[in-house]
Symmetry: C2
């Protein structure tokens, strides 16, 4: 199959760009096309994709690769691989508080496996709809399975989450529940043979690993309240570490406050759950800081976005101190490293 046929068959989704660019504003959506919002001008089919970025906005972009055997197991349902690849990338947009505009896909495939491609395409289309982000271009090549996505988003100028903006005294927050994805890796042998064999609690962890849902809407609206945050894809301790080093400050975390689901405790026990919550990768949740005067606003916003947020500590002058009920707490794992050598 030629590259163009392959793109036509599996990677060309219909998408209403105008609807997309206006989905925040029902008044505009029902009237004529707005040119005041960032939008995709040209998608698949030419050498490049083209974006219109009105002067009040900036374009934000992020790129991430998933490699067979490193970031996923090739015998995983291709629909889930596609979901995860896109989720990991929109999570980087959420990390900055950006609104997704579009994404491109560069995929290397060892062969044309129509069953695999159909599943992958289905998953990508669903995720594209779910995250409201159209596929606008890319590249297909022959080679060992390698999935690279570049995601494009927009922010209003000056309204974004950055790593260097934490201030001493700020609260530290996280979204969602932590550690489930890392724990789910232990379940892969069982899950890959027959997902139905998992218990209800195990299944919840498996969902967190294979179908992550980054808090996009919350992140975007959070930029009205906070200007410091990132996504937790390398583990809370490691990623919070980036905030601390870029902001030149420290933090105190209360381990007993970490949001840990009942499912995780049921499967691995509380002690191990805390280690996963601190050091496990693949969470695709948000860690952010904010002045304590914004606590209610943050809780209200989370409720409106139907997500969970938890205050887990405070920014201090220096160092990262972990306590459990007031006593020093020892973390027992190094965070995820891409090259374990």
């Amino acid at each position: 199959m030629a590259e163009f046929d392959l793109i036509e068959r599996y990677f060309t989704f219909e998408y209403d760009f105008d609807q997309h660019s206006n989905d925040d504003d029902p008044k505009q959506a029902s009237t004529k096309k707005s040119t005041s919002k960032p939008r995709v001008v040209k998608g698949i089919g030419d050498d490049c994709a083209i974006f219109d970025i009105p002067s009040k906005y900036q374009l934000v972009t992020s790129t991430d690769t998933l490699v067979d055997g490193v970031h996923f197991f090739s015998d995983l349902d291709p629909e889930l691989i596609a979901h995860k690849a896109l989720a990991a990338n929109v999570s980087d947009l959420a990390a900055m508080g950006a609104k997704p505009l579009a994404f491109t896909l560069s995929i290397s495939l060892p062969e044309i496996n129509e069953y695999w491609l159909a599943g992958f395409s289905k998953g990508l289309k669903k995720a594209s709809k779910r995250f409201k982000v159209p596929l606008v271009g890319g590249d297909t090549t022959q080679g060992p399975l390698n999935i690279n996505i570049t995601a494009y988003g927009s922010v209003k100028k000056g309204r974004l989450l950055e790593r260097h903006n934490a201030e001493v005294g700020d609260d530290i927050w996280v979204t969602g529940y932590l550690g489930e994805a890392a724990a789910a890796l232990e379940l892969q042998d069982k899950a890959l043979v027959r997902e139905e064999a998992l218990t209800a609690a195990e299944s919840e962890l498996w969902q967190a690993l294979t179908r992550p849902l980054p808090p996009l809407e919350f992140a975007r609206k959070l930029t009205k309240i906070s200007c410091c945050g990132l996504d937790i894809s390398d583990g809370l301790a490691a990623d919070l570490g980036h905030i601390l080093s870029k902001s030149q400050c420290g933090a105190k975390l209360s381990v007993e406050s970490l949001p840990i689901s009942e499912a995780l405790i049921e499967v691995v026990g509380l002690e191990q759950a805390r280690q996963y919550a601190l050091n496990g990768g693949d969470d695709y949740q948000l860690c952010f800081t904010a002045s304590n005067k914004h606590r209610n606003k943050i809780l209200n916003l989370a409720e409106r976005c139907s997500i969970n947020v938890t205050r887990i500590g405070k920014i201090h002058e220096a160092g990262l101190q972990l306590t459990l009920n007031g006593q020093p707490f020892e973390s027992n794992r190094a965070s995820w490293q891409h090259f374990n050598q």
Copy 2:
């Protein structure tokens, strides 16, 4: 080595963004920072890269992957692999007449080979300088060697080269010399052992394959004259075919007009040279159409940009007719397909 150390050591180049954004305008470069030009606001070190795109401009983006054994030979000097990866991507920007702004690199590496990485990094830095395009982010992962680059550029609104704008009666032009890269593939066994063993003519072809220089400046300025073009990376016949199908027209090409270098004729003979010029891939030159009233302007622009341009035919109503001195000419090869199945 951790991902962050690796990025710090090999993929963090110093770059003067302000100088970059003003390099068209010496007056502005010497005064204070301009905000009227598209520019990179944030580069490596956060979750995303950020671009400022003034409202007169649009952001153009393209992504391309090079896979070991498909697009290059892994025993090729890593400096050349890096050059080629970036050249292939800026060529897609040239294809639209865009000015490069920045690029991101997603690279999968089977292992940390410091010799290889140092060479790749050196080549990437040189190419980055040559094409005036800074590295602003990316991703490193462990896996079979796979190099993905996304390039970002800008165009003034409405001032770009597109595939669907050819009109009956237009001249068809190409830049540079064609077919050298495809012919050079035949030389790889000799060249990879000892590049010095090549004859002067062979060496010229090898340069075309391994150190392509897309006509970026020419392409950008061409948008004042033409609005139809693309880059020839899949072979002239195949890529011109895209213009014809998108513009719903045909073409007559004079095979005797194709720009073929003396070096190519010396190495493979005139007959084979013509086949390579028509169907060989990897040329990274431009094919464009323009009204015949612009012939002098085009020749003058090419001279100012120190590149070669050649008029090779005309746009007609339908079909692609090849003639050699007035007689029908038979092309003997299918164009490059990414999946040869």
